[in-house]
């Protein structure tokens, strides 16, 4: 028979529920959305309230209007049936905050994340919980009073992730907890070697790059050479120019010794201190950029890159691949240079301005037909510690 009968256009007869928020204001909410909250659902069924303005359902005190708006967004999305079954490959660009230096200064480690088989709901949830801690606490409180278990689960997981990224001091600050433990009771953080996702990430990056270089063989990129960064201090540079070959070698070896010692000293610091050190190293890299380039940079490349490696090694894993002396023996020094330049380049990009970087990335992503993701990152310092399965390196 004919399948051509079009769907009958029904007039939209949406049913609304009247809700009163804690501040006294009354609003209408689509029935199916409101019914997603067990507490509202129960009120409607048991007391019959919500059918008119005069009998608006009063929400618990913990649910203020802006939070209620968020909750409605959540309910509106999730109450649509069948969404969870949709499996889609989404190439999404996520910004992941990874380095948390003391205070509220954040550096963003940018990664392209390939999410294969992620469900629509999961993606929505991921984005949904990106907000500052205070709001997250309000949200979880509100969700609990409305008995929205899935949202409570989602938000408590998000809060747990926030806790996971912080030191005890930072946790106390964030949640306004008393500092009432004795000094003996407070334990210093362990340097867990293969553990930190940042370490694993950088190790993977380093290993991948090394592998690539080995496969490609000798490659001298003239353009890259010209972009070389000299991060020595002005004094060092002056002495290099004035000193001539012998002296400069001495300076280099002395510097190397100093760097190794400094590397060892940095290893003894707590992780937050070494992260500070790392930040300073990045700062010196950018300041060196501004100092301009010198013609005799190529000679100094191994030392300056070892400094970078030193500082990163100090902040992350001292034992694994960052240790020059052991692992780079089989690499041609030229390839090592190449590799070091790449890593430096990456570090420089890490440190560059956030909005500028986002622009670059988004424009690149459009080239690769990636879907840009709207960022929440204006003033809020939030954190996602999920890492995707593939790192897409920006080859420039």
């Amino acid at each position: 028979m004919s399948e051509g009968i079009m769907a009958v256009v029904k007039p939209e007869m949406k049913s609304y529920i009247w809700i009163q928020t804690a501040d006294g204001s009354i609003q209408q909410v689509e029935e199916e959305v409101a019914m997603f909250c067990p507490m509202i659902c129960r009120e409607i069924l048991q007391t019959g309230m919500g059918s008119s303005k005069n009998y608006a359902i009063p929400l618990p005190q913990r649910v203020n209007p802006p939070i209620f708006g968020l909750i409605l967004d959540y309910c509106r999305f999730h109450q649509v049936p069948g969404r969870s079954n949709k499996v889609c490959s989404v190439l999404s660009v996520s910004c992941i905050a990874s380095l948390h230096i003391s205070g509220e200064v954040l550096s963003f480690l940018f990664l392209g994340v390939l999410v294969v088989g992620g469900t629509e709901r999961k993606i929505f949830d991921e984005k949904f919980v990106r907000m500052d801690t205070k709001r997250l606490c309000e949200l979880i409180s509100a969700a609990d009073s409305l008995q929205l278990k899935p949202l409570v689960d989602l938000t408590s997981r998000a809060l747990a992730r926030i806790i996971e990224g912080k030191s005890p001091e930072e946790i106390r600050e964030t949640f306004h907890l008393p500092d009432d433990l004795t000094e003996e009771e407070k334990l210093e953080p362990l340097k867990n070697i293969a553990d930190d996702p940042r370490i694993r990430l950088l190790n993977r990056l380093y290993a991948k790059k090394r592998k690539e270089l080995r496969e490609r063989g000798k490659l001298k990129n003239v353009e890259v050479e010209e972009e070389l960064v000299d991060e020595r201090s002005v004094d060092d540079l002056l002495s290099f120019i004035n000193g001539g070959n012998e002296e400069s070698k001495e300076v280099k070896t002395n510097k190397n010794k100093k760097k190794n010692r400094r590397r060892k000293d940095q290893l003894k610091d707590s992780s937050s201190n070494s992260l500070n050190g790392n930040h300073k190293a990045f700062d010196s890299l950018t300041s060196a950029c501004r100092d301009g380039e010198l013609t005799d940079i190529t000679l100094s490349t191994p030392s300056q890159t070892s400094k970078f490696q030193g500082s990163t090694a100090a902040s992350f894993s001292p034992k694994l691949e960052f240790d020059d002396s052991d692992s780079d023996d089989d690499l041609d020094p030229v390839m090592k240079e190449e590799l070091d330049r790449e890593v430096e380049d990456f570090a420089r990009r890490l440190n560059s301005d956030w909005p500028q970087r986002m622009q670059e990335i988004l424009s690149l992503s459009q080239q690769r037909r990636l879907l840009p993701v709207s960022m929440n990152g204006n003033d809020s310092a939030h954190r996602c510690t999920d890492f995707g399965q593939q790192i897409i390196l920006q080859d420039q």
Partner: protein, 356 residues
């Protein structure tokens, strides 16, 4: 007392329950209420109940230098062992910090490990430097990620004994041999909380190189050999009933064949399993039944353990090859290999399952 100010206790608890066990050390250093919270026994129970806990296989494993490129694992005169942790849910490997004072020499050789509550207990073995038999006890507290020294195993020097924990607070030890290579009949129990050893009645048989498995309220000691029959493993076993505080009758012909019982594994949720001649066997009632073949890559089995519906085998294809881990699903009988990074491809000497 509020866990998190402005949040109801139940909700704040939900956040703490969802933390990774690796955060316990940090959490215990935040404030008194958080410290108190994670030390409550019900905290661990709630994590398990809500499926927020991590399932760990904790092992004593030989260190492997990751910079050696060849597949051939360098055989050192005396390999250095440290504690590796495999999170079976995520497949992530990590290692515990070394025992203070033993970071370069490593763990005692041929020590036994057992999990008790949120503690890991490392008992006995040979001193890695002097090769002298040691009765040392080291306990790693996962809640604070710190090591402490426990009371030494009393009595004669015992090595190559069977060891198992009831999972709660007691670790049982039986058999082994003394300094004269006499097979031992004696057994002991270590109370982890009280840090005290207690003697148990002797077993009927001497059992050198026996295997200990705790199952259904009983400490089973399987196989082993006697002083006069060195290396001639026997097929019998006996079980210590904890409630009754006595050993049951010797079960002759317990094992299918007279082999080393070190690949036996079992728990409260699972049958007793064993790997023999490339096959995984399960003890159903009184008979051993072949369940499935072992993957060829792990035919030389180093370590076996079970937990809720799964069996883990760590082994290598041939002596000297890197070790890899395979997990068998006990419902579908399908094998899944677990990615084993180079640093964690060393020989596994002993291990235990711990959920935290």
């Amino acid at each position: 007392m509020d866990l998190i100010p402005d949040l109801p206790y139940d909700i704040a608890l939900q956040c703490l329950l969802r933390l990774s066990y690796k955060q316990f050390r940090t959490v215990s250093s935040v404030c008194k209420t958080w410290n108190h919270q994670i030390h409550l026994p019900e905290f661990r129970r709630q994590r398990k109940a809500g499926c927020h806990s991590q399932k760990l296989v904790v092992m004593t494993q030989a260190k492997v230098d990751p910079n050696i490129n060849s597949g051939f694992v360098k055989r050192l005169a005396s390999p250095v062992y440290r504690v590796s942790v495999l999170e079976v849910g995520s497949g992530r490997w990590s290692e515990l910090p070394p025992i203070p004072g033993f970071s370069s020499s490593g763990l005692p050789l041929f020590c036994q490990v057992a999990a008790s509550g949120s503690d890991l207990v490392v008992i006995g073995g040979l001193d890695p430097v002097t090769w002298e038999v040691s009765g040392s006890v080291f306990v790693f507290d996962f809640l604070s990620a710190t090591w402490r020294r426990g009371a030494d195993m009393p009595g004669l020097q015992r090595s190559f004994f069977g060891c198992a924990s009831d999972g709660d607070r007691t670790v049982y030890v039986a058999g082994g041999h003394d300094s004269e290579k006499n097979a031992l009949r004696s057994a002991m129990a270590y109370d982890v909380e009280r840090d005290e050893w207690a003697h148990l009645p002797d077993m009927t048989k001497e059992r050198d190189e026996c295997k200990g498995v705790f199952q259904h309220g009983k400490f089973h000691v399987i196989g082993g050999y006697s002083t006069n029959a060195q290396g001639r493993f026997e097929r019998n076993a006996e079980a210590f009933d904890v409630e009754q505080f006595q050993w049951g009758r010797v079960q002759e012909n317990f094992l299918k064949s007279a082999t080393c019982p070190r690949t036996c594994a079992g728990g409260d949720d699972e049958d007793l399993f064993m790997c023999h001649e490339g096959v995984v066997l399960a003890l159903k009632g009184e008979t051993w039944q072949a369940v499935t073949k072992l993957p060829a890559e792990v035919s030389d089995v180093a370590y076996v353990t079970t937990w809720q519906g799964k069996l883990l085998v760590i082994g290598c294809a041939r002596f000297g090859e890197p070790h890899i881990a395979y997990v068998l699903d006990l419902k579908s009988y399908k094998w899944t290999s677990m990615e084993t990074p180079k640093e964690f491809s060393g020989h596994v000497q002993s291990g235990c399952y711990l959920e935290i």
